[in-house]
Amino acid sequence: MEIERRKLRVPAPSEQPGTPEEFRAKQLRARDMLRGDLEGRDLEEFVEQSVFTTTLEKALNTARANSIFPATFGLACCAIEMMSIVSARTDLARFGAEALRASPRQADLLILSGRVSIKMAPVVRRLYVVMLEPKWVIAMGACSSSGGMFANYAVVQGADKFMPVDVHVPGCPPRPEALMNGFNKLQKKILGGPDLGWRTRYNAIGTEEWARLEPGRPTPETIEAASRAIRRAAPGREAEEAAPDA
């Protein structure tokens, strides 16, 4: 079946939008509607002018993109620049992301602001894992994108070696405006649909939270049983853990 959509009433050339007359006419019509005077086709015309339609997904993505909660998480000198994006000059509150959360469980954006040392990498990875989906990551600066000047034994050569990264912001360090631009890029990406993201690029389809509990995959119970078996195999550690209870 073919659906045809057509406006109920095409505005006359005299009713140009933006003129005071058109505004006054709208006001009067709204007053009539509130009084209950509009009926039938007039009421339908009023509703048509006041309402626009969209898909649920688009509305959801708009809400997500304009209400991002970054985690309060600084790694190195880039964190100084990151701090200033919520200041008065480059005001991230304009894009709805001024609330930096102090817990990864409340955040949905992780800004890797600085070099990630190989000792810090598991910590960062754990922070990313405990964030609730949908979640995004910005690698800020040369160090977290590629290792930067730290081409040595202590620093991971690019954070996307151990976790998915959505946006890379170049610079050493990037200016706050650059980070803001990266943030806007991320917003555009979210508006385009969160499935554009990393699971396809990193071959990670099936690792979603809802997909982990399929039959055949490890459940919380089997994971708990496995860790208990490991603890049984190493009795020294179990004794240490049991000590506070005794």
Partner: protein, 186 residues
């Protein structure tokens, strides 16, 4: 810093207590150094700490160095300070690399590490610096109460500050080396 005759006096007095302890003295870059036998380094440190008139009671730094082409490859430096006279003296123990040459007994030569007595008993503050020297250079401090890695991860392999340790890092793609890195886009 003791001047040149003072340094020679210290070296002679130490050698008078135990012969062959101080092999050499050096006075360079405003720093007085006693180059000592690594097996007897504790004698030197305790003598400098306890002898009346010396009393270098503060160990301000313990660190290692790798002078790779040189014959005794490693060195452990002890920087001592007398806080009353504000005088500093450096004790330097040169350690050969046991990984060079054939291994007569024990593990294969490339797994053997240089060793030196730990001075944690004399100076408790040496605990963490000795762990760092072990972490970065693989110098074993015998008698250290808790000798394990301090900065690098526990399961790390290798001694990263040695001169023959690879610098590391990934090759970075620029326009000038794009041709030398075939199929870089994969």
């Amino acid at each position: 810093m003791p001047d040149a005759p003072g340094l020679e006096l210290i070296a002679q007095e130490i050698n008078g207590v135990r012969d062959g302890t101080v092999t050499e003295t050096a006075l360079e870059h405003g720093r007085a150094s006693l180059i000592v036998d690594p097996a007897k380094v504790l004698d030197v440190l305790s003598w400098l700490r306890d002898t009346p008139g010396q009393e270098y009671t503060f160990l301000s730094s313990v660190h290692a160095a790798d002078y790779l082409p040189a014959a005794p490859r490693f060195a452990v430096h002890y920087e001592l300070l007398n806080r009353d006279r504000v005088e500093r003296i450096n004790v330097k123990a040169l350690l050969p690399d046991p990984a060079v040459g054939p291994s007569l007994d024990g593990p294969p030569a490339e797994e053997q590490l240089p060793a030196i007595p730990s001075c944690v008993e004399l100076f408790p503050t040496a605990d963490f610096p000795e762990r760092e020297a072990y972490d970065m250079f693989g110098i074993v401090f015998e008698g250290h109460p808790d000798l394990r890695r301090i900065l690098m991860p526990e399961d790390y392999e290798g001694w990263p500050q040695r001169r023959d340790f690879p610098v590391g890092g990934d090759p970075v793609l620029f326009t000038h080396n794009e041709i030398e890195t075939p199929r870089w886009f994969e």
